[in-house]
Amino acid sequence: MSTGIRRHRIRRWQPALWVGAAALLLSACGAAPSTASKGGKGPIVIGASLSLSGDFSADGQAFQRGYELWAAYVNSHGGLLGRKVKLDIVSDASSPTQVVTNYQTLISLDHVNLVFGPFSTLLTVPSSKVAARYGYAFVEGAGGAPLAFAAGLHNMFDVSLPVKDDLVPFAQWIASLPASERPKTAAYPTSNDPFTEPQLPVAERILQAAGVRTVYSRVFPAEVTDYTPIADQVAARHAQVVLLGSVDVPTVSAFIQAFAQQHYNPKAFIATAGPDQGAAFVNAVGANNTGGVMVPNGWYPGFKNAASQAMVQAYIAKYGGTPSGVNSDVAEAYSVGQVVAQAVEATHSLNNAKIIAYLHSGVVLQSVQGPVQFDSLGENGKAVAFAFQWIHGTLTQVLPTNAPGSSPPVYPKPPWGS
């Protein structure tokens, strides 16, 4: 998902560029940063720093698509306050050093009217502190780990689902199964990561209360390059349900591969991130191994929401592919744009102080991910946690079972390779 933090080691020194680079520098100076117009009829400029290269690049580029799709939509529907919207997106190469410089540039040099957040919890806090200093509202879609809210920043708002309750619908569903069908044992392997680690204890408490015994609960390093022994260990415990705290596709695909090799097929398998990555997930694990795999999230491409469906259509028109190939990052970014747009229209201004006050007022806003309402910490209290399952090659909404649009989950999950 996306509210996550992908890979760990940060490659900030996307190096060195030297003598010849002086020439580039000159040309860069020539292309002076656009100065947003303060009033009048010029475009409204919105700045954002995204990880277009480096560790978070897969998510960063998906976020860019989301922001651009939103801007295209707004501009084709009369703009914002009657003015066109122009995005000023710069790259931070997945580096906290760069992201700090970037937001200062966007605000103090480019004089953007508004800013949107970057990708990843790791970059959210440093950049929102910069924005706070200038009194800018900082709406973001991918910084939902509890540590981001612990900073207590008044200007930060996360439109997406707060991370810690992600697994609750899944755990409650397992707990609600009739005793005869309910799994007896569960495994909770998780990556050492601020995005995954808070999620599993919440789920474990619910399952233990329902009599599901924990047979494996260990943290593995974020930078592990070989998951086989960890996955084999989980397989050896024969847990009937596996809750995997993963941040990316390689983790999930390594576990699935090892499970298949060990002929170990849990009754239910959910991974906190990875299965939501659309085509990238299917390509990595192979289409015949996706069946029954679940992922918690606030959004999926088949979401029954008119704006969401229009966004998916626009995505396919622009980038090709099928609805299942759309990454949830796109929706998170798109939601940021929608929320800010509603605040601007409601306050009828680009005044960030007014926007912050409005977002804190308890008003309920709409986004492609569903309703948004911020609590005092800037968390989206209205976000509904869903769980999605890959069924016949399509990511399908299955939980909560009584939610509109949910199909019945496939349980137990079909064996690997079928």
Binding site: P15, W18, S108
Partner: protein
């Protein structure tokens, strides 16, 4: 001597006045990161450039300094403000103390083995930061940020980092000119011979290692305070040392001015280009190609190459290389120490 002193004074004056001239926070922000890297490169060079050992684990000191500030601020419930800067000497002290056991272990080996041992120790520290309770693991630590106005927010950070840099450069300069520095250079030329001539190589190397660790720890703390949040993978970034080595080699290994020049050119350019050319992956290729071209054209770094060129012009001889490598430094040291050969 006089023109050099005047040049130095001018440089200091210029650095001191920079935030007044380029007052926009974008520029002072880039300048702070540049000063941090100038300090790190200078200190790294104080050990590596003079001793010939290539450590790829100095980020241990950077990260330890960062965590010293973060943990102290958290445990003592400090609030953002000038008081936090008092933690910076503490960060330097912690880094220096850690350098003792680190150096004692790593400096028993040489060459490749030394390189790999420093990498291994670096990973041990990163993994400890991920797994120990005191560092708060993967969730990192929030650091209180001062409530200063945005327009001048960066200035205190700038001037205090500049102070650390001056300390580091002065150290490097004194080491270079001291008998201690001569002993280090003798070790670089031929360690066994230096020992044979009475240089207490173990003690000399360890001292240099500790000296070079302290400013790195201090700027690590500065970095953490400025960013406002610290995570294991940023505090102990495996590529930190590669970046620093790059700056040192670019400017000229073993010179005082080289690392400064390397950092001054590379860090702002890096930040500025990333900012300006946010166009996907093509720039990786451009960077790599330019980078290769410079290494191959100026293999010894800008400062020594330029010095050779100037000397060649003065003497009228084409390509007269600096004869540094030919001096018998070990014998020189022996003469100084007066030890029996």
């Amino acid at each position: 001597m006089l023109p050099r002193a005047a040049g130095l004074g001018l440089l200091l004056l210029g650095l001191g006045a920079l935030p007044l001239v380029l007052s926009n926070p974008t520029y002072t922000s880039i300048a702070i990161f540049t000063l941090i890297y100038m300090t790190a490169a200078t200190s790294w060079n104080t050990f590596a450039g003079y001793s010939g050992y290539i450590p790829l684990g100095h980020v241990v000191f950077f990260g330890s300094g960062a965590y010293t500030l973060a943990v102290a601020a958290q445990d003592w419930h400090l609030v953002g403000g000038y008081g936090m800067f008092l933690l910076i000497p503490l960060a330097g002290l912690v880094a220096g103390l850690l350098a003792l056991p680190f150096g004692l272990v790593a400096l028993r080996t040489r060459r490749h083995t030394f390189v790999v041992i420093t990498i291994a120790i670096m990973f041990i520290f990163q993994l400890l930061a991920f797994n120990l309770g005191v560092t708060n693991g993967s969730s990192g630590i929030q650091i209180p940020t001062p409530l200063w106005p945005a327009a001048t927010f960066n200035d205190p950070f700038y001037y205090i980092t500049l102070g650390i840099l001056i300390l580091a450069v002065a150290t490097s300069w004194f080491v270079r000119r001291s008998r201690f520095g001569l002993q280090l250079l003798a070790i670089r030329d031929d360690e066994d011979r230096a020992r044979g001539l009475g240089v207490r190589t173990g003690r000399v190397k360890l001292t240099a290692f500790v000296i070079s660790a302290i400013p790195v720890g201090m700027v690590g703390a500065m970095y953490a305070y400025f960013i406002g949040q610290i995570f294991p993978q940023f505090a102990f970034d495996p590529l930190f040392d590669v970046s620093v080595a790059l700056m040192v080699f670019f400017g000229g290994l073993g010179t005082v001015a080289g690392p400064l020049l390397g950092a001054v050119v590379l860090e702002p350019l890096q930040q500025y280009l990333t900012l300006q050319f946010s166009i996907g992956d093509l720039y990786l290729i451009i960077y790599g190609v330019v980078f290769l071209a410079v290494i191959l054209l100026m293999p010894r770094g800008v400062v020594p190459s330029t010095r050779d060129w100037l000397r060649a012009r003065r003497t009228g001889r084409p390509d007269a290389p600096e004869v540094e490598g030919d001096t018998d430094r070990a014998a020189e040291v022996a003469a100084h120490t007066g030890s029996p050969t």
